[in-house]
Amino acid sequence: MKNKAEVVIIGGGVIGCSIAYHLAANGMKDVVVLEKEYLASGATGRCGAGVRQQWGTEMNCRLSSGSARDFENMNEELEYEGDIEFIQGGYLLVAYTEHQVEQFRKNVALQNSLGIKSKFLTPLEAQEIVPHLNIDPLLAATFHDKDGHANPFHVTQAYANAARRLGVQINTYTTVLGIKREGDKVTGVITDRGEISAPIVVNAAGGYADVVAKMAGVNVPTYSERHQILVTEPVEAMQGPMVMSFHHNTYCQQTPHGSFLMGLGENVEPSHEIRGSWQFLKEMSDKITEMLPPLRHLRIVRQWAGLYHMSPDKTPILGGTEELQGFQMAVGFSGHGFMIAPMTGRLMAANILGLDHKDKDILATLNIERFAKGELFVEPSVV
Amino acid sequence: MLKVTGIPTTEDVAGVTPPIERLEKGPCAVIECYQKIPCNPCATSCPFGAIVRDNDINELPVIDWEICTGCAICVVNCPGLAIFTVDLSKPGKAMIKLPYEYLPLPQVGEIVDAVDRGGEVVGEAKITKVQEGKAFDRTRLVWLEVPREQAMIVRHFRQKE
């Protein structure tokens, strides 16, 4: 392991690897990534894998539509020997209350204004897209056919492999124990395998971003909470899009492999706990059999949990902080870090290297200072 | 070698063979148990207390050939089917009782191929008795008559086609 680098990135998830790749692709090759287990072993590898552009804030729409374009070309751009399995089966968002219908109308208008060609649908139109959808209680839906899902593990691997080829050093099974600072400047990282001095340290630690920030003595308003997922046995392809209900706090997709994968936003206390519960199985089963009744015949084969790292406005915190020079953050993705990882990498690299980028205004907006100023961007459309 | 082939060596067998004078007096159990395993039904089933397994059920059984009557209760009670009785009291012949758990059962008077410990046919044998009973718990006791010199060789039989 190197003992000196220009940039040290803490976290070998999709965010850390994307930033590493984009730094290297823009000429900054003296980069070290530190991962305490293996790549994508944390939140990335446990996530629901969805990639959607139907968001309720401009920031998220822009981050996600830019990222979707990257996903479309990722195998080629990163010269990945595998396949990131990006499939654009669409996202069907379903509304059950007048309030949601109202929000969906606003969202579609916003999305359309930003070039995202989502549509507002009647329940019957929604049922044409997902025939097994229970439309009795349904009021409306929105659909965007360019949404979809990708394989988080392969995406991370693709970024990591490309970064390595450009000279980035990725150290797995390396735990960060502390962050060195001199006054208000960051100077390096202490790991269980030795120290690395570096003028720039990036916190891309996903579910543990709060722990890493604390090591640096930087205050972040983020916290982790457990989100659970279950997967069923594989069956013949029957559901194209991801179905998502903010009313039920659920999402459900059929993977390319044929399994149905579904998750739920539960009412849990902040923690780093990722052990599974039967309560999740129960609540998930109750809701999904109501929303998509024929799925009741499918067998669950596995359940697991991961961490959402929540920010107060459910929108990520990107960029540096006045508290500590050289300390860069890409944290608080609130459950949708995977789908905006490509843009996050591009913007963070541009920011660190002082390069221009047409969407660089996003960084200024999503800076941590927004909390002090009270300029929050509450995302209404998060499970 | 027993541990490689499953066939006891001549030395193994010699170590458990009763004295010829004893066998000439009448049937006597031959315990062909060469490995210390946790097991003692031979000792506990013997109505005469002829078999001792010390205090440790892992010790090899020790039989007192003078007490043994050759009743063969131990033969049908040995979980390893490793006990036989041999009787050399009749001139020229040897009577062997062996445990048998295959079907069909041989008939009394049937001539069968006599088989040694390695599964090889070594001659012929005559079935003189087939015993079964509640206490036998589905293990049959088959009596074979073989030439005297095969008393310690024949340990199985095969019915002719």
Binding site: T232, W278, K282, S285, R299, V301, Q303 | -
Partner: protein
């Protein structure tokens, strides 16, 4: 066993993973089962690794020289056997036993 002809031997039946494929992953540096299963789907089929998990652990140990005792063992997730969403939805719970809604 190191012969070439073993390469086509299926090691994970549910997901059709061969020994050769497993070796290619190991040689690329994917040396623990947790990582391997996410990349290759090995052990993630209907039997959930109950047939192949030990074999794969042995194979990794043999190829990397890292003993199984030091291997990273993937979690044994619930449920042990497939159970339908309907069966779970049909379970009746008293009000105080129910999971709390958000």
């Amino acid at each position: 066993m190191s012969n070439k002809e073993y390469d086509n031997t299926i090691i994970c039946r549910c997901e059709d993973i061969t020994r050769g494929e497993l070796h290619r992953w190991i040689d690329q540096g994917v040396t623990n089962l947790e990582e391997l299963k996410r990349l290759s789907r090995a052990t993630m089929g209907p039997c959930q690794g109950r047939t192949c998990r030990q074999l794969i652990l042995q194979e990794i140990a043999a190829r990397t020289g890292v003993p199984i005792s030091e291997a990273i063992i993937p979690s044994y997730r619930q449920p042990l056997r497939g159970v339908t969403l309907g069966a779970i939805a049909d379970m009746k719970l008293d009000e105080e036993e129910k999971p709390h809604e958000k």
